[in-house]
């Protein structure tokens, strides 16, 4: 165990305070999954040959490991506080915990029903292409700030899903391409729009005409 913590200190770029939250979420997820196991309808109960046995084993394994991970995180945090003066992300780590909890909270629901769980729904209102999104704070600062860009990107993806059928493949894809490029730091809007449109049209025709895979036509009667 001790060696493992040392190793973790070497990889200092990994956010440490968040481990605590991740562990908590994992434990909660395992507990929830265990609850679901009891709802599986099994005529033979938990007999190894029945449908309930393997889910039970997997979920118990998951729960045990999540607890072990949480234990490591707690111990590591104590060590980190005392011995290691938390070098690179020192300014960030105190502030991290509460908002990180908010971000990881949708992760708990997420293997189950991703869209319903509303991943970053607080930001998702700008559907697909809203290139006027304010410039993203410089990532790499570590901690919570670096979660802003991926969260925005997820928002773009949700927007993409929402307008996929409505606007049709070409328009939705071009918008999503431009918006994600913007979120990822590209500022050459004209170039991105041209590439996005060409890409979307190219894919649309290649798939519908050559591969006969149907893509939604949407607003354009193409």
């Amino acid at each position: 165990m001790a060696e493992k913590s040392e190793l973790r200190d070497q990889r200092a770029e990994r956010p440490q305070a968040g481990e605590f939250v991740v562990g908590g979420v994992l434990v909660a997820g395992a507990a929830f999954a265990l609850l679901e196991v009891t709802r599986i309808n099994s005529p033979v109960g938990y007999s190894p040959a029945g449908p309930q046995f393997m889910p039970l084993v997997v979920c118990l394994l998951w729960l045990g490991l999540a607890l072990a991970y949480l234990g490591q995180a707690v111990r590591h945090r104590h060590r980190g506080g005392a011995a290691v003066p938390a070098p690179p992300d020192a300014p960030v780590s105190p502030a991290v915990t509460p908002p990180a909890a908010e971000v990881t909270s949708h992760r708990a629901d997420e293997p189950i029903s991703p869209p319903a769980a509303g991943v970053t729904s607080h930001r998702a209102d700008g559907p697909a292409g809203d290139p006027s999104t304010p410039a993203v704070p410089t990532p790499g600062a570590g901690g919570l700030r670096s979660l802003a860009t991926p969260a925005l990107l997820v928002a773009v993806l949700i927007g993409y899903l929402l307008v996929f059928d409505l606007l049709g493949y070409i328009l939705a894809t071009a918008l999503a391409f431009v918006a994600s490029a913007w979120v990822l730091g590209s500022r050459k809007l004209v170039r991105d729009v041209i590439i996005g449109v060409v890409l979307a049209i190219g894919i649309y025709y290649a798939f519908t005409e050559l591969l006969s895979i149907r893509l939604p036509a949407g607003v354009f009667p193409l």
Partner: protein
């Protein structure tokens, strides 16, 4: 010679102009996508899977896959050498010396030794695959359900134990993957499991959805946290005619090529498959044995030649358990298995009987793919360098678009796309907190296989659990599984015994196939 006959028939199939064209297209697309930083062969195949949905004949599709795979692997080594960003873990060892060589103005030599080494290794190991596959398949017919159960367990556990930095995190990945694999209707009793009342989940979560989510979307989200500056592609030195390698380069390369092949193939064929371990073993070995030890760390050609050969040879090795037992042992093999299932083919001992033409065509196309690559990769190097210079925001935006397209074209379901996005968020956090990805993938695909064999064994034995301990083969496999858990700690234990300070990362292999 029966095998020779089969193989010649395979070549006859591949030399059909259409199939030859498909192989060439596969190799080109594979290299094109594989060159992109951060994209490995597994993801390349997963993204390109929909292209083959409308093929009437699975043979053509698999010929193309073989090309894509080899192309992606070559592309990965190009990226490692010129950009020092290995697209997959198996290229990490190549990047160590290869990038240093490029910085010293020897990029062409590094690329050439990688390409020719891969060609040599690919040819030899495909030959080995040809010889080994059928006998192993005949042996596999004798396997019983308990053996399959133990074998699946061994594959999952050993990959988990050998990959990543922490056993706890690896096993957590595995158990979450197995959980995802359990979602859907139980295949034996039809009971709903973890479907949460959502009818779309009754069929379970498609492995392609999981792979695209964890790799493509997870990677793109992760890239968003580390906004890269302009990409630093190491410039190629001006060409000196056709002489990519000097006489000295050749004489320093050919032994590492052969040694790399000798390590790569058997390791790939083991249930703990994948290319990570043999590439690092080869690198370590070349480093210890080299007459030019002082050059290691500054760009030694042996350090590129060996690992690249091992990388390539291990793929043919991985095909042994995949084709003969239906057992995927790497993320790439999992996608290949998914491709088989799309065409309603079940890899396993029967495959050589039921679809013998397809298997031999696939093996023959591996040879062809190797030749095509050598012909394509080096002359087109300037094109691949151009691809490397695609700005990162556009690259990842494009990956998101193609990932969405790949999932949507599976069954035109936006629900599945949403699931892929959700799994992408999971993949993002796994990367952020250093959870290995490969165990999760294997959990999704091998978990249900393991459960099926377990229950089948118990039904046959009338719920008598002792069947797992009375059959010698099963018992041996189960013992190996337990041993695999301790393997990563072996160097440390030995070092402890010798009283030396433990060297850490020795047996921890990076992942992301």
């Amino acid at each position: 010679m029966n095998i020779l006959n089969d193989l010649l028939n395979g070549f006859a199939t591949v030399f059909d102009p259409t199939n030859l064209l498909l192989a060439a297209i596969g190799v080109t697309i594979g290299t094109l996508v594989g060159v992109l930083p951060g994209i490995g062969p597994a993801l390349t195949i997963a993204l390109l899977l929909p292209v083959t949905f409308n093929f009437d004949d699975p043979t053509g599709a698999f010929i193309m896959f073989a090309g894509i795979y080899y192309g992606a692997m070559y592309g990965g080594s190009t990226t490692s050498i010129l950009l020092n960003t290995p697209g997959e873990s198996a290229s990490v060892a190549t990047a160590i010396e290869g990038h240093k060589m490029a910085l010293r103005g020897r990029a062409r030599a590094a690329l050439a030794t990688a390409a020719i080494g891969s060609f040599v290794a690919g040819t030899i190991s495909t030959l080995l695959l040809t010889l080994v596959a059928k006998p192993v398949g005949e042996l596999a017919v004798k396997f019983q359900a308990t053996d399959y159960f133990a074998l699946t367990l061994l594959a999952m556990v050993s990959v988990t134990a050998l990959v990543g930095h922490s056993l706890v995190r690896g096993l957590l990945s595995l158990s979450v993957g197995m959980f995802i694999g359990l979602i859907g209707l139980d295949s034996l009793t039809g009971q709903e499991r973890f479907t949460f009342g959502i009818p779309e989940l009754n069929d379970g979560v498609n492995i392609v959805v999981v792979i695209v989510g964890l790799f493509a979307i997870g990677e793109a989200l992760h890239a968003a946290t580390t906004r890269a500056g302009p990409t630093d592609v190491t410039p190629l030195e001006p060409a000196r005619g056709f002489a990519w390698l000097t006489r000295q380069d050749w004489s320093r390369s050919w032994r590492p090529w052969l040694r790399g092949t000798a390590v790569g193939f058997p390791f790939g064929a083991l249930p703990a498959g994948g290319a990570e371990i043999p590439t690092f073993l080869s690198y370590t070995y070349e480093r210890h044995r080299s007459k030019h030890k002082d050059e290691f760390g500054k760009g030694a050609i042996e350090g590129v030649a060996g690992p690249e050969a091992a990388n390539n040879a291990s793929f043919s090795g991985v095909l042994v358990p995949l084709l003969t037992l239906g057992l995927p042992t790497s993320a790439t093999a999992s996608v290949m298995l998914a491709a088989f299932q799309i065409f309603n083919l079940q890899p396993g001992p029967q495959l050589f009987d039921t679809s013998s033409e397809l298997v031999w065509a696939l093996i023959a196309s591996l040879y062809i793919g190797n030749v095509l690559l050598l012909a394509l990769n080096l002359p087109l190097i300037r094109l691949w360098v151009k691809v490397l210079q695609v700005p990162r925001p556009l690259l990842y935006a494009g990956i998101l678009v193609f990932a969405t397209l790949g999932v949507y074209s599976l069954s035109a379901s936006l629900f599945e796309v949403a699931v892929a996005y959700g799994i992408g968020v999971l993949g993002f956090f796994m990367r952020r907190y250093d959870f290995p990805i490969a165990p999760a993938i294997l959990g999704v695909i091998l978990g249900p296989m393991m459960e099926e064999q377990l229950r089948r064994s118990l039904v046959i034995s009338n719920n008598d659990v002792s069947v797992f301990f009375t059959r010698p083969l099963t018992l041996v496999l189960l013992i190996l599984t337990v041993l695999a858990l301790f393997l990563p700690y072996l160097p440390r234990i030995i070092a402890r015994l010798r009283g030396k300070p433990a060297e850490m990362d020795r047996l921890a292999f990076a992942e992301e196939d």
